[in-house]
Each structure stands twice: as structure tokens, then as C-alpha cells.
């Protein structure tokens, strides 16, 4: 018997429709638990409308890796065994839609809750000019800097305080940051200078801040910006060669990076705003264990990643989570309505506060609990610098190529020029038509 929706007759001729909602991320269970409240509110509306249907939500939190989730989704879809709603990173929308796995949610953007959605965020769930999902939250991936290390380097409190603004304005460049990082290493103020997260959504940030274009959204094709790539590769190659960056940064675990930062052992770290929650809950400080938001903000600052040249607009990358609906769901209408309910500001806020994510509508961001949350307040502005990588079906391949090329640079196996031409070859081979 295939899973999916099951309907049963309740008392009084009421038909109870079970909707399965699944997330793979056990660390943010609000992504499915929010549906309970959403279902209540939907049922109220249904009752008011005199509908005989009632919704019951079955939550599935199946902790698995991203890739396992992909397999699960593909094979379950192909064999008709899917849940009704999945929470997932937005970037899968491309290939899911392309593979004809999803239900298009035409017109959902007209719903009132989404009126004040952050500008540009519908793009995250669009593919082929249709909407395939609903945003669930957003975040940003800035640079964390360690105030204590800066102080050791002789920085004053004022200098430190003004740093984020300088980065935002494009006054503080990548080169300066690298210089500072090297100084920290040379003067033994910290074990490391700069750490970059190597995840698929993180690595491109350094490229984007070199002004590198990777994708032509208009044409829906990847591009090879040789100049930008060469610059970035040169930067990276120099950084690892003079010890500013660990040569092994591509293979260092995120937790170790976070530990280094909270223990004042690295000056700059590119990470996600939600990582603050880990300092609060995972006992990463060697002496203090769990620390408070206040402690974090006292010792660690956050800024956008500086740009390569003065005056450029800095960029961070966001990986908003979205809800998608498999094509084979039996109750498209109820599911759609449920998605509207779950996007209420209150529920957005609940999720945001619990997991250090940022709500995606103005109402959400201005919800009381969010406003009162110091951390979200502190980093909230970053979302205006956020871009997302394309959700093209071939994005995983592109990310892999970019990472492999970077690996070659970091290893010293290739010069920046060689790496660029290697990328060209690979992109031709792997991306085929999707490469311009």
C-alpha cells in the first residue's frame, strides 16, 4: 500500500485527510511541527466554509544526509511513495521541477501572507518561470570576526565597531582582510587567519565578491567569467601559500571551524548566521561550554564578506528552505492551503527564533519575538545583501566543478590560468547545453 495521503471518514460524515509532511533536518523540527498549528487554523476555516474535509498532519522527521534525501525523493517519486509536503533547501527546486516531480503552485504568490515577501525571493522557488514551492525561511552567510584577536593586533573598540559598516560600504577590501589575517598568524595572535566554509552554497561567496559571474539568469545558462575566476584563484592561492588560510580548509569540518572561532583561535570565519545557535547549544567553548547570545555578540562580530575592489557591492549567499509538493499528491488544493497557513508570521517567527533563521516576510521579521531577539536583530540586515545561487538542475555539477578547481589551486597542482581552462573543459563536458 503506497503511503502518501490517506483519507478516512470521521464522525458526522467529516472526511479526515491525512497530509504527510517531511523534513530531513532533525535540528529544525519546527519545519514540520509548525504544521500542527497550521492545520488547526486551516480546519477552522474549513469548518467555517462548511466543508466536510478536515486536515490531519502526519509529521515525519527522518534524519538523513542531503544526498540520502535526494535519493529518497527521486525513488519515492518514481514509485509513487512520496509524502505530501517536503521541506528542503531551495536549490533542489530546479532539478525537482525539471525532473517533473513537483506540483506547480500557480497563483500562490497572490496570497495575502506573501504580500510583503522579501524582494527577489520568489526567484528561489521559480524554475522555467513557474512557481514550484513556498519559501520557508531565510538566512545569510557572512564573515565572523573575532574581536579579541583584533584587540591583540592593537585594534581599538571603535575600529572594531565600525568594521561591519566599512565592509558594507565597500571600504574594507578582501586584500585588507587577508593582510590582517596574515598579520594575526604572523604575530601569533591566533592559530588561523581566515577560514572559508567549503559547502556548495558557501564557496561561491568568495568568487561573487571578486565580481565573478557564474550564471546568466536570463538565458538560464552557466557562464565562465575568466577574469573573475582568475582573480579569485589568485587570491586563494596566495592566501594558502602564505599561511593566511589553512591549506586543508576544504576538508575541515564546520564544527572545528566554529570551535576555533569561539575559542579565539581564528580571526575571520565565513559561516552562517544560524551557526550562532551551535555555540549556544553544542558546548563548543573549551572552558565555558554553552555560551549565551550576549557572549557571542560581545566577542564575535559579523560583517558581510568584503569585496575585492573598493566600492563594489558586497554579496552574501542565502540558502532559504522551501516547501515543495510532489506532483503525485492526492489533495493538491488542501496542501496548497496548508502551505499558506504555515507561512503565517507567527509560525515564521517561532521557527526563526528557535533556529536562528530569519523570517521571509516583513510581517514575520517584525513579529514581536523576532524583534526581541538580539541576534536576529544584529544580523537581520545581512539578508539585503543575500543572493542565491541558481537552482538550475545542474547546480550540483557546477558546484562540484568549482570545488574541484579550487582544490587544485589549494593543492598547488594548477596555476589560476590552468584551473580556469580546466574548468572550461569540465563545464563543457558536464553541463553540456547549460553552458554558454
Amino acid at each position: 500500500e503506497p503511503s502518501g495521503t490517506a483519507a478516512e471518514k470521521g464522525e458526522g460524515g467529516v472526511e479526515i485527510v491525512t497530509i504527510e509532511v517531511m523534513t530531513r533536518d532533525a535540528s529544525a523540527p519546527t519545519r514540520v511541527t509548525n504544521f500542527v498549528e497550521a492545520a488547526e487554523s486551516l480546519n477552522k476555516k474549513l469548518e467555517e466554509e462548511g466543508s466536510k474535509q478536515r486536515v490531519k498532519v502526519e509529521q515525519i522527521v527522518k534524519s538523513m544526509g542531503e544526498e540520502e534525501f535526494d535519493q529518497h525523493f527521486i525513488f519515492a517519486s518514481k514509485s509513487g511513495n512520496t509524502a505530501d509536503i517536503y521541506a528542503t533547501g531551495y536549490s533542489k527546486v530546479g532539478w525537482m521541477a525539471d525532473g517533473d516531480y513537483l506540483l506547480p503552485l500557480e497563483g500562490i504568490d497572490q496570497q495575502k501572507v506573501f504580500e510583503n515577501l522579501m524582494p527577489g525571493y520568489w526567484d528561489a522557488v521559480k524554475w522555467d518561470n513557474r512557481i514550484w514551492g513556498v519559501i520557508q525561511d531565510t538566512e545569510a552567510r557572512p564573515i565572523f570576526f573575532n574581536k579579541n584577536v583584533l584587540k591583540k593586533l592593537g585594534w581599538t573598540d571603535d575600529q572594531i565597531k565600525s568594521l561591519p559598516q566599512k565592509a558594507e560600504n565597500g571600504e574594507f577590501t578582501l586584500a585588507e582582510m587577508a593582510e590582517l589575517a596574515q598579520k594575526a598568524v604572523d604575530q601569533k595572535a591566533a592559530g588561523g587567519g581566515l577560514l572559508l566554509t567549503a559547502g556548495g552554497k558557501d564557496l561561491p561567496i568568495i568568487f561573487l565578491n571578486h565580481g565573478t559571474e557564474v550564471y546568466d539568469a536570463q538565458a538560464g545558462k552557466y557562464v565562465l567569467d575568466k577574469a573573475g575566476l582568475t582573480d579569485t584563484f589568485t587570491f586563494l592561492s596566495k592566501a594558502v601559500n602564505n599561511g593566511t588560510m589553512e591549506r586543508s580548509f576544504l576538508s575541515t569540518g564546520k564544527d572545528d571551524m566554529l570551535k576555533a572561532m569561539i575559542n579565539d583561535d581564528v580571526l575571520f570565519l565565513q559561516a552562517g548566521i544560524w551557526d550562532e545557535a551551535k555555540w549556544r547549544t553544542r558546548g563548543m567553548h573549551n572552558k565555558l561550554g554553552n555560551v549565551t547570545s550576549e557572549y557571542v555578540m560581545d566577542n564575535i562580530g559579523v560583517m558581510v564578506m568584503p569585496t575585492a575592489k573598493k566600492g563594489m557591492k558586497p554579496v552574501t549567499v542565502s540558502n532559504p528552505w522551501v516547501y515543495v509538493v510532489p506532483k503525485k499528491t492526492k489533495h493538491p488544493e488542501l496542501v496548497t492551503r496548508l502551505l499558506v497557513e504555515v507561512s503565517s508570521p507567527k509560525l515564521q517567527a517561532e521557527h526563526g527564533v528557535q533556529t536562528s533563521h530569519i523570517p521571509f516576510t516583513k510581517e514575520g521579521q517584525e513579529y514581536d519575538t523576532v524583534k526581541q531577539n538580539a541576534w536576529l536583530n544584529y544580523v537581520g540586515y545581512l539578508t539585503s545583501y543575500s543572493r542565491f545561487m541558481p537552482n538550475h538542475p545542474d547546480q550540483p555539477k557546477f558546484e562540484k566543478i568549482l570545488k574541484d578547481a579550487t582544490q587544485n589551486i589549494v593543492n598547488g597542482d594548477m596555476s589560476p590560468e590552468q584551473a580556469v581552462s580546466w574548468m572550461e573543459k569540465q563545464m563543457k563536458l558536464n553541463l553540456g547545453d547549460a553552458f554558454k
Partner: protein
């Protein structure tokens, strides 16, 4: 009488000439040297086995303790999933007994069918000559060597076509098919060892083929059957990849998948809980193993 004297005298002379007696240092040293390999081996094995033992003991201890990876206070709390629900991160898993039965179904099913088919094939390959026999044996190796990974995609298509995707039966069939070559090979070795005279005798005594099989072969190949049953059971019991790829519903998931999901980075299940589940998961294997370990030691090729 004279002879007697002479004999005794000779004995005396012998005694005088003899150099070292039982207790002399040279004989003590020789004795010690001879026991060296024995002592050394025992020491080596003990040194090697203790950590291994310790790991499993540790696993059990942690499952009964409430204090992380270093077992301290004993408690049964971690085992509560046996009588109440398995609740992690607020998510309630299906009853552990359902999952247990699912796992058991795959394991016993695999074991039964794999042994059955391997027996049939091993019998024919060992006891009869037919053209292509050698090729068949060689092909066994080839199948064994074929990269199983990509077979998964093919397996997906096949399972989907016959409608066995997302079923325990489907997984069981895949396990059986994958295990047949090795099992056949092992059981063939046991068939080879059955004295031919015995099979002849049973024929002369009036047995047909089936009766010969039951009375002559089965008692001989019993250890082999036990060994491959155990192996098949273990492989079914421990399967993870196929289950994680081909089963979608929680209600038919197995212990391996549940445990794997519990120790993912993002999960906050306690060590004790996971260890308890892991111990619970291992228990049937260990029980079976104690029953069949004699058979295992007699395994030949």
C-alpha cells in the same frame, strides 16, 4: 645371580656417567624455551582480543548508563523503547517491535531462500558433470566482482517494474540474489566432501534422489548450511544501503536505518539510547552466532 649383579653394576655405571639430571639449569632452560611459543601466543591473542572485547562490553555498559560515553550510573531508561515509544527530538518513531519484525522478515527470508537456492545449485554443481559447469563457476566470480553500486539503479528499475519497490519482499529478493554466488560456492565445498561411497550406498539401499539428499547429503553439509544461513541472516539483518534507497515508509524501515538516522550529526539522541538500540540490534546476531559458531569453525572452501 651373577647376571643380576652385572646388570645392577651397569646401571650404576650409567648413573655415574650421566651428566645432567632433570633439575639442572640446562634442562630448566630447555623446558622454558620450549614453552615460549605457547606463552607468547597466548599473550599476543590476549592483548589483541581484550580491546575488542572491551568495545562490546563498553557498548552494553553505555546502554545501561545515563552519562554519555563513559558509563557511570546504571539505569534502564535507555531501554525504555522496548516497552514505551522511541521518541527522539520530539519525533515518535514506529514501535521498535514493528521495526524489529521488519528486520527479522528480511533477514530470515534472505536466509531461507538463499540457502535453499544455494543448496540446489551447490548440489548440482558438485555432484554432476555437465557442459558449462566450469564456466558457471567462473561466472560466479565475475558476478561477485561486478560493482554492486551501479546495479542499484538497475535494481530500482527492476523492482519498480515488478512492483516490489518500497516493500520488504523486494529488499529480501535483492539480498537473496546478491548472496547466492558466495553461498553456492561455500556449500559446493561441503558437497564435495561427501564421500561418494555414501551416495552409492544409499542408491544401492534403495533411495531415490531426494531421499539420498535428505539422508546422505544433509547430515554431511549441515555445518555448511548453518554457516551460510548465518551469513545470509547477518547480511539481511545488517543491510543498510538498499533499505535506505528502496524503502520510503517509516512503517517498514529497519533497525539499521533507524540507528543510522540516530547518530547523524544533527540528531540529539543520547549515547545511551543509541547504544541500547544498537545492543538490541546486535542481540539476535550474537544469539545466532553462539548457536552456529561450531559450524563456522568447520567452514571449508
Amino acid at each position: 645371580m651373577e647376571m643380576k649383579m652385572m646388570q645392577a653394576e651397569m646401571g650404576q655405571r650409567d648413573e655415574n656417567r650421566r651428566k645432567a639430571d632433570h633439575g639442572s639449569w640446562i634442562n630448566r632452560r630447555r623446558k622454558w624455551l620450549q614453552s615460549m611459543p605457547n606463552v607468547f601466543s597466548i599473550a599476543l591473542m590476549a592483548a589483541g582480543s581484550l580491546p575488542l572485547m572491551a568495545i562490546y562490553v563498553w557498548m552494553v555498559l553505555v546502554s545501561f548508563s545515563d552519562s554519555g560515553l563513559i558509563p557511570k550510573n546504571l539505569t534502564l531508561e535507555n531501554w525504555s523503547f522496548l516497552w514505551s515509544e522511541l521518541n527522539i527530538d520530539g519525533y515518535i518513531y514506529p514501535s521498535v517491535w514493528t521495526i524489529f519484525l521488519n528486520t527479522l522478515f528480511i533477514a530470515t527470508g534472505t536466509s531461507i531462500f538463499e540457502v535453499l537456492f544455494a543448496l540446489l545449485a551447490g548440489y548440482v554443481i558438485s555432484q554432476t558433470r555437465f557442459p558449462g559447469r566450469t564456466i558457471l563457476l567462473q561466472s560466479t566470480l565475475l558476478t561477485h566482482a561486478f560493482p554492486a553500486i551501479t546495479g542499484l539503479i538497475a535494481a530500482f528499475y527492476i523492482l519498480n517494474t515488478v512492483g516490489l519497490l518500497n516493500t520488504l519482499t523486494g529488499i529480501m529478493i535483492l539480498k537473496v540474489l546478491g548472496g547466492i554466488p558466495m553461498s553456492t560456492w561455500i556449500i559446493k565445498g561441503f558437497f564435495d566432501e561427501v564421500p561418494r561411497e555414501l551416495t552409492w550406498a544409499s542408491q544401492a539401499d534403495g533411495c531415490g534422489r531426494l531421499k539420498t539428499f535428505m539422508t546422505v547429503f544433509l547430515p554431511h553439509i549441515w555445518p555448511g548450511v548453518a554457516a551460510i544461513s548465518l551469513f545470509a541472516f547477518l547480511s539481511g539483518w545488517g543491510e543498510y544501503v538498499m533499505i535506505s534507497v528502496f524503502l520510503f515508509d517509516d512503517s517498514i524501515s529497519t533497525l539499521s536505518v533507524v540507528i543510522k538516522s540516530l547518530y547523524n550529526e544533527t540528531s540529539s539522541a543520547s549515547y545511551g539510547q543509541v547504544m541500547a538500540l544498537a545492543t538490541f540490534y546486535m542481540l539476535p546476531c550474537v544469539v545466532l552466532y553462539f548457536f552456529s559458531q561450531k559450524a563456522l569453525m568447520r567452514m571449508k572452501l
